[in-house]
C-alpha cells in the first residue's frame, strides 16, 4: 500500500479509523483546526487535543459550478455542525450536485478519498462527508 499523508493535519489517518481532531481551548472549550497562539473566544492560552465526531448535520451548502483551476465541477461544499461540537467545511460526496438532492439539516458522516499523488508516490488523503442512509 502506498504511503499516505493527510491533506491537512487535523485529519488523522494513523490512529484507528480516520477522524478529525481540533485544538480545544482549556478556558472556553472553543475548537480550532489550526494552530492558535491563544483562544480567540477568551483570549487565554492553553489547548488540548480533542477528537471530533464523525457525524453531523449540514448547516448550509452551495453547489460550485465555476471553481479554481484543476477542481472538478460541479461539487457540493457544505458547512457541517458535528455531533458533540465543532463546525467544519468540506465537500459532500456520493450525492447528486443538485439542489433537489442536498438540503440543510441533512445528516452526514465522514469519509475520505485520495486527492493526489506526489512524485515519490505518496498519496494525499482528503476528507469529505456523505449522506447517512435513511435521511
Amino acid at each position: 500500500m502506498a504511503k499516505q499523508i493527510p491533506i491537512v493535519d487535523y485529519l488523522v489517518l494513523d490512529d484507528g479509523t480516520p477522524h478529525l481532531v481540533a485544538n480545544e481551548s482549556e478556558e472556553s472549550g472553543a475548537l480550532y483546526f489550526d494552530r492558535r497562539n491563544a483562544d480567540a473566544k477568551s483570549g487565554e492560552d492553553g489547548f488540548c487535543r480533542r477528537r471530533l465526531a464523525d457525524t453531523g448535520v449540514v448547516r448550509t451548502f452551495t453547489i460550485v459550478h465555476r471553481a479554481a483551476p484543476g477542481v472538478t465541477v460541479p461539487y457540493v461544499s457544505a458547512v457541517v455542525d458535528l455531533d458533540g461540537g465543532g463546525v467544519v467545511k468540506a465537500n459532500i460526496l456520493n450525492v447528486a450536485a443538485d439542489p433537489d438532492y442536498v438540503e440543510v439539516g441533512m445528516r452526514v458522516s465522514l469519509t475520505t478519498f485520495i486527492v493526489g499523488t506526489d512524485d515519490e508516490g505518496t498519496e494525499a488523503v482528503a476528507f469529505a462527508y456523505e449522506p447517512i442512509e435513511g435521511n
Partner: protein
C-alpha cells in the same frame, strides 16, 4: 456622533469601468480633484489625507496621489481593509476631524482590478513532494477539495444558511435581488453595467455557486471615489452654497468579527453587521423605518438579502417577504441600492466604501438626476470586508 460633528463638503466618484489607458493614480486623482472642486476648496485646505487601496497597498498610494494633486506635507494614512478599505480611509479622516486634530480632510478610495476573474482562484500550485505547511499543515491547496472559500461559494453558503432557517427564502428570492439591482443601474450613468435583465434571465444565467448565478455576482473593475470632510465649526465659516449642499454624518461605526463557533470555516457576515447597525442607529437616533435609501454591500445577491434582516429593514426572518413585496425597489418602502449596487454598479474594492456614501449624499443633496429618490433626507451605507470589517454610516440632510 463623536466629540465634534463631521460633515461631507465635497463628493465625487469616477464611473466604474475597466480603464486600460489609466493607472490607479489617474483614477484617484480624478475623483480627489473633483471632490475638492465639488466642495469649493483646494488641496491647500486639507489637513489630512486618507487613501484606501488594496491592489497596490504596499506602494504608498496616498503619497503617490499627493505627487499628482498636491504635496502639502499633511499626514497621510494608507489603509487596506478588504472590501471595507475605502470606508476605513474615510474613517481615518472622520476621526482626525472629530478629535480636533484636523478641520478638513480628503478621503480617497481607489482600485484598479481589470478583469481578474474569480478572486482567490489563483490557488498555489500543488507541491511535487507533499510537505505539510502553514497552520493547518496542508500539503496542497484545499480549495474545492475541502469545501470552498472562494467568494461566490462563501456568500452562497451564507445565503443558504438563512434560507434554511427562514421560511419563504430560496433561489427565486435571491435572484429577485439581482433583478432589482440591474434594473436600478439603468438609471445610473456611473454604473459599470446599465442593462436590465428579467428574473428568468437572472435565474438562467451561468450558475457560479448555487444559488448565485453570474448575474447575481458583482464584477471586478476599476474606479475611484473621494470625499472632502469638514468639521461643523469650519463649515459654519463657509459660503451659503457650501453649507446648503453639505451632508451631515450622523453616525460612523466600524466593527469586526466577534468569535463564533463557525467563523474559522465560514465567515460570519451577520453578527458584525448587526452590531454596527445597532450602534449606528443609537448614535444617530435614526430608526431603520426612517431611512429614505440604503446602499448596502451586495457583493452577491445572497448577501443583500441577509442584510435586509441584519440592518433591520424588514422584520426578523422576513427578508424573503421584503423582496417578494418589492420593499427594496426604488419605489418600495426602503429603497436599497438604487445605484445598481455592487452587482451592477461595480465593485473596485478600495473605492466601494466611499462610493456608497457618494450615492447617498448625492440623493440627500437632490442631485441624483434620473435616479433621484424624491425628498430623501436620511440614508444609510454599509460595507463589509471579509476577514472581517464592517462599516456603517448614517447620513442626513441638515442645516448648519
Amino acid at each position: 456622533m463623536a466629540e465634534r460633528d463631521v460633515w461631507i463638503l465635497g463628493a465625487s466618484m469616477t464611473a466604474f469601468r475597466r480603464y486600460p489607458d489609466k493607472d490607479l493614480i489617474d483614477l484617484g486623482s480624478e475623483a480627489a480633484v473633483d471632490a475638492m472642486r465639488d466642495g469649493g476648496v483646494s488641496i491647500h485646505d486639507m489637513d489630512v489625507l486618507g487613501a484606501g487601496n488594496l491592489s497596490e497597498a504596499a506602494s504608498g498610494v496616498g503619497q503617490r496621489l499627493q505627487k499628482q494633486i498636491g504635496q502639502t506635507g499633511i499626514p497621510v494614512y494608507n489603509v487596506a481593509n478588504a472590501c471595507a478599505t475605502g470606508a476605513t480611509a474615510l474613517r481615518c479622516v472622520i476621526m482626525s476631524i472629530a478629535s480636533g486634530e484636523a478641520e478638513m480632510g480628503l478621503a480617497v478610495g481607489l482600485e484598479k482590478m481589470g478583469k481578474m476573474g474569480l478572486l482567490g482562484a489563483s490557488a498555489r500550485s500543488d507541491k511535487k513532494v507533499f510537505t505539510p505547511a502553514g497552520r493547518y499543515g496542508a500539503v496542497m491547496s484545499v480549495e474545492g477539495r475541502v469545501g470552498t472559500t472562494l467568494m461566490p461559494g462563501v456568500f452562497a453558503q451564507a445565503g443558504m444558511e438563512y434560507a434554511g432557517a427562514n421560511e419563504g427564502v430560496g433561489f427565486e428570492q435571491f435572484a429577485k435581488v439581482a433583478e432589482k439591482n440591474h434594473a436600478h443601474s439603468t438609471l445610473n450613468p456611473l454604473a459599470q453595467y446599465q442593462k436590465q435583465f428579467s428574473l428568468d434571465e437572472v435565474m438562467n444565467s451561468e450558475m457560479m455557486a448555487y444559488p448565485n448565478t453570474l448575474l447575481m455576482c458583482c464584477p471586478t473593475g476599476d474606479g475611484a471615489a473621494a470625499m472632502v470632510l469638514v468639521s461643523e465649526e469650519r463649515l459654519k465659516t463657509l459660503s451659503d452654497d457650501q453649507r446648503s449642499r453639505a451632508v451631515k454624518i450622523s453616525a460612523s461605526v466600524m466593527t469586526s468579527d466577534p468569535w463564533t463557533d463557525s467563523d474559522q470555516v465560514q465567515p460570519d457576515v451577520n453578527t458584525l453587521t448587526r452590531n454596527a447597525a445597532k450602534k449606528a442607529y443609537e448614535q444617530s437616533g435614526v430608526d431603520p423605518q426612517d431611512l429614505d435609501l440604503v446602499e448596502l454591500h451586495d457583493c452577491f445577491a445572497t448577501a443583500e438579502l441577509l442584510h435586509y434582516d441584519n440592518l433591520g429593514l424588514c422584520a426578523p426572518g422576513e427578508a424573503g417577504k421584503f423582496i417578494d413585496e418589492r420593499g427594496p425597489w426604488r419605489d418600495g418602502t426602503i429603497p436599497v441600492n438604487v445605484s445598481g449596487g455592487l452587482i451592477s454598479k461595480g465593485h473596485p474594492l478600495g473605492a466601494t466604501g466611499i462610493a456608497n456614501l457618494y450615492e447617498v449624499a448625492t440623493h440627500l443633496r437632490g442631485e441624483a438626476g434620473a435616479r433621484q429618490i424624491e425628498g430623501a433626507t436620511v440614508g444609510l451605507t454599509h460595507v463589509i470586508g471579509l476577514g472581517s470589517a464592517c462599516v456603517v454610516h448614517v447620513l442626513e440632510k441638515a442645516t448648519v
